[in-house]
C-alpha cells in the first residue's frame, strides 16, 4: 500500500517536470518592444495608420550617465514606427513585421488621435478597449492634422513624447480624458466627448515671442527647453479641445472655449485668472476682457496674450510703472482652488434650463497696477471682474456648442437624465437637436480671500497713474 503510493507520487512529480521548462505567455523583457505613445491616423483608401513610439532600451539606460557627463544633444530615446492597415489590428500585425521585438502595450502612456480619423469616428478605438494589454486609464488626446507628427517630439526633460504629454496633463493646465472617461462620455446618451488638443508649436522663436518678456517662461515645461537656448524644431502645448458630436469630431474649441468647457463640466480644480485691474481705467471691462483668463501661470504660448496692445510690447517692460499710465490696463491675477461646479436642471413645459453654480476661493498672486487691499471696494470689484471673466468663458463655450456644434459636450443631458428621468425619456433620442434650445444660466461666485505675502503693490505710491492710486493715498 505504502510503496505504491510512493511510486505514484514520484510518477506525478516526473509528469510535472515538463511544466518547469517554462510557461506559456512568457515574455522576457529583452524580447519586448515597449510602446510609450500611440498615434492613430487615417490613411488614404479608408485605411488607418498606426504609429507607435517604441523605447530603445539602450538609450534610456544610458540616460543618467549622459546627464552626469553633461554631454551634448540628448539622443532620441525611442523609435517611431508606423504601419497602415484596414483596421488597427491589421496595422499592428504589419507593425510587428517591422519591429525585431514583440510589441508590448501595457506601458503605453498616451493615445493621440489625428483629426481625420476623429472625423471618421471613434469606433476605430475598439482595439484599445478590447485588448487585454490596454489600460482604460490611458489618457487620450486629439490633434489637428496628423497625429503621428506629435511622436516626433524631441526629447527634453522627459525622454519620450508619452511621458512629456502625461507630464503636461498632470500639471492640470487643461482637462484630462482617460479612455474610460471617453467611453463614458461616448456611451452616455446625454453626453458627447471632448478631448484635449495637442498643438505643435512650429518654432521656438514664435513661442518666445508670444510669451513676451514677462518673465513667466521659467515655469512651463515646454518653455524651459527654450530657456536652455537650444533650437528645437518643435515643441508641444496642450490647449483647446476637439469636440465630438456622438462619435464624430464636430469642431474645435479654442483655448478660451476649452477653458469654459472645463468650468462647465466641473473639471477645473486649480488655475489662474488674469483680469484687468478694475478701477484703473474706464476700459477695464472692454477690450481687455477678451483674453483675460489663462488657465495657469505656465501656459506658454497662449494666444490670448496677443490682446495686449502692440505699444506695450514695444515699450520697455522693466519700468511698468511708467508704462501703465492710461494706455494699458493694469492687470491682476488670481489663483484659485477648491472650485466646485454644481449644475441643476429645471424643466418648465418644453423649456429646459440648466443652472450652473461655480463656487470657489481665490488668492491674489500678481498685480501690475496699483492695488490696495485695505480698499474693500477695489477687492470686491476685482472679485467681480474675475467672476465675470470666468462667466464669459463659460458662455463662449456654450455658444459654440449650442450654435455651431449642436452637441452637448457638457454632459448636461445626463444631469437632466438624473434629475428628471421622465422628461429625459421624451428627448433622449434626439438630445443633441434639443440641446441648442436649452437655456443655461451661469453663476460664478469665486471669493477672493487672501492677497499673498505683500499687501500693497510695491513702488512709490503716487507715481502710478489712475484713480486707484489716489484712493490708496487718501487713506
Amino acid at each position: 500500500m505504502i510503496w505504491y503510493r510512493r511510486v505514484l507520487a514520484v510518477l506525478l512529480l516526473v509528469l510535472g517536470l515538463p511544466a518547469l521548462s517554462g510557461c506559456w505567455s512568457r515574455h522576457e523583457i529583452e524580447e519586448l518592444a515597449i510602446i510609450m505613445a500611440v498615434a492613430l491616423d487615417s490613411a488614404p483608401g479608408g485605411q488607418v495608420r498606426l504609429t507607435t513610439f517604441i523605447v530603445i532600451p539602450r538609450a534610456v539606460g544610458g540616460g543618467p550617465s549622459m546627464g552626469g557627463g553633461g554631454g551634448g544633444e540628448p539622443k532620441k530615446a525611442g523609435e517611431v514606427v508606423s504601419a497602415v492597415g484596414s483596421d488597427f489590428a491589421q496595422a499592428t500585425r504589419r507593425l510587428e513585421g517591422q519591429v525585431p521585438r514583440r510589441l508590448f502595450w501595457a506601458q503605453n502612456r498616451v493615445i493621440i488621435i489625428g483629426e481625420d480619423l476623429a472625423r471618421r469616428g471613434l469606433n476605430y478605438l475598439d482595439l484599445f478597449l478590447r485588448d487585454r494589454q490596454m489600460r482604460l486609464t490611458t489618457p487620450i488626446l486629439i490633434t489637428r492634422g496628423e497625429a503621428r507628427k506629435v511622436l516626433d517630439l524631441p526629447p527634453g526633460i522627459e525622454l519620450n513624447p508619452g511621458t512629456i504629454l502625461t507630464g503636461i496633463l498632470r500639471n492640470r493646465t487643461t482637462f484630462k480624458v482617460e479612455l474610460k472617461d471617453l467611453l463614458a462620455m461616448w456611451e452616455a446618451p446625454g453626453d458627447n466627448p471632448a478631448l484635449p488638443e495637442v498643438v505643435m508649436t512650429p518654432t521656438p522663436e514664435q513661442e518666445s515671442q508670444e510669451t513676451g518678456g514677462e518673465g513667466r517662461d521659467a515655469k512651463g515645461g515646454g518653455n524651459e527647453r527654450g530657456g536652455k537656448g537650444k533650437t528645437q524644431p518643435e515643441a508641444v502645448v496642450i490647449k483647446g479641445a476637439g469636440a465630438f458630436r456622438y462619435d464624430r469630431l464636430a469642431g474645435w474649441l479654442d483655448e478660451k472655449e476649452a477653458n469654459g468647457l472645463m468650468w462647465l463640466r466641473g473639471e477645473v480644480k486649480e488655475g489662474v485668472v488674469t483680469v484687468p485691474l478694475p478701477g484703473t481705467t474706464g476700459t477695464g471691462q472692454g477690450q481687455g476682457m477678451a483674453g483675460g483668463l489663462s488657465p495657469t501661470p505656465g501656459e506658454g504660448g497662449s494666444p490670448g496674450q496677443g490682446q495686449k496692445p502692440g505699444a506695450e510690447k514695444g515699450g520697455s517692460r522693466d519700468l511698468p510703472r511708467a508704462q501703465t499710465a492710461l494706455s494699458a490696463p493694469a492687470q491682476a491675477s488670481v489663483v484659485f482652488h477648491r472650485v466646485s461646479a454644481k449644475t441643476r436642471a429645471r424643466v418648465q413645459g418644453q423649456q429646459v434650463t440648466f443652472m450652473v453654480e461655480i463656487r470657489g476661493q481665490g488668492d491674489l498672486i500678481e498685480v501690475t497696477g496699483n492695488f490696495n487691499p485695505d480698499n474693500l471696494e477695489q477687492l470686491l470689484a476685482l472679485q467681480e471682474a474675475v467672476n465675470k471673466a470666468i462667466e464669459e468663458r463659460a458662455l463662449l463655450a456654450l455658444r459654440k456648442a449650442q450654435q455651431e456644434l449642436q452637441a452637448d459636450i457638457f454632459g448636461f443631458g445626463e444631469i437632466l437624465h438624473r434629475s428628471n428621468p421622465r422628461y429625459w425619456h421624451q428627448v433622449q433620442d434626439y438630445w443633441n437637436e434639443e440641446f441648442p434650445r436649452a437655456r443655461v444660466q451661469v453663476q460664478v461666485e469665486l471669493q477672493l480671500r487672501r492677497t499673498g505675502m505683500t499687501s500693497r503693490t510695491p513702488g512709490r505710491v503716487g507715481a502710478v497713474g489712475g484713480k486707484v492710486s489716489t484712493q490708496g493715498t487718501a487713506r
Binding site: 487585454r132 482604460l136 486609464t137 452616455a188
Partner: protein, 365 residues
Amino acid sequence: MREEGYISPRQASVLLWFAILPTAILFLPALLTLRARQDSWLAVILATLAAGIPALVIYLLALRFPHYTLFQYCELILGHLAGKIVAMVFVLAFFLLNAVVIREFSEFLTTAVMPETPFLFFACSIVAVAVYAARNGLEVIARCTDFIMPLLVAFFVVILLFATPEMSLRNILPFLENGIRPVLGGSLITWPFMGQVIILATYGAFVNPPRSLGWSLITGLLGIAFFLGLVTMGVILVFGACEATSLTFAGYNLARVVSLGQFLERIEVLFLAIWVAGVFIKIALNLYVVALGLATVTGLKEYRPLVAPLGALNVALAAYMYRNISEIRQDLLTVEPGWTLTWQFILPLLLLLVAWVRGQRRTGA
C-alpha cells in the same frame, strides 16, 4: 455518510462567502448592469432577501434533521427510491455548477491574463489542487479559508478605497429610472449566485452546534450581500451604468483603474492572486460536496476515492459545456436563473413541505 470532524459556525459562514463571492464579483456586475443599470446594487439586495427564503428552509430542515446532510434527509423525507432520485438531482446540480465555475475561472484567465496558455492548463491545475484539498476533508478546506479570508477582505478594502478618487456619486442617479421591473430582472440574474446558499444544507451538517446554523446563514448572507453590493456599487460609481455593461470583467477593471499618486498602480495582479485563491476554495468545496453526495446516494463508506475522478469529469464537462464566451453569458443571463430557481429554491421548499406534512424529524438521534 459521516465525515469525521466539525467546523465552527464562523467557518461555515465564511465558507458560504467563498461559495458565492469569487465568481460573482467577476462576472456578475457586467451582466447585472445590463438589466438593472444604475440600480444594480438594489438588485443585489433584493436577491439577498430572496435568498433568505431558501436559507430559512435550510435552517428549518437542519432543525428537523440535525447532523444529517441534504443528501441524507432527502432519503429520510421522500423514502428510499424518490429520495435517492432527488438526492442525485442535487449531486448533478452541484456537479454542473462546479463545471461552470471551472470554465469561468479558466475563461477569465485566458482572456485577461495569459491568452496563449491553453484553457485546459488552468482548469487542470486548479482542479488538481482542489482535489487534493477536498480529499483532506471539510475541516481542511475550512482552515484554508481562515487564511484566505483576511486577504480577501483586505483586497476588497484596498481596491474599493483606492478606487474612490475615480468614483463619482452622481452615477447612481436616477434612482429607479424605469421602475422596479429592471431591478427585478437584475435580481433574477443575481439569483444563480445567491441561491448557492443551498450548499450550506450539505456541509451544514458538520457545524457544531447545529442550532448555530442560523447564525452562519445570516452572517454568511449579509457578508455576501455587503461585498457583492459594494463591488457592484463601485463598478457603477467608477464606470457609470453605460460603460459598465460593456466591460466583460467589470470587477477586474475596477482593480485596473486604481492609481494612487503615480506609484500604487497596476494592482490587478493582487486581485488575480487573491481571486484565484478564492476560486480554489469554491471549486474544492463544490467538489467535496459532489463527492460526499455521490457517496451518500450510492451508499459508499468513503467519499475520498470519488474526488479525483469527479474532478477529472468536471474538467471534461467544463471543456465541452460551452463553445464560446457568448454561450457562457447567454447561459448566465437566460438559462441559469430558471434552472437554479428550480433546484435551489423549489426543491428544498418541497422537501420541507413534505417533511412538515409527514411530521418527520430526527432530533432524538
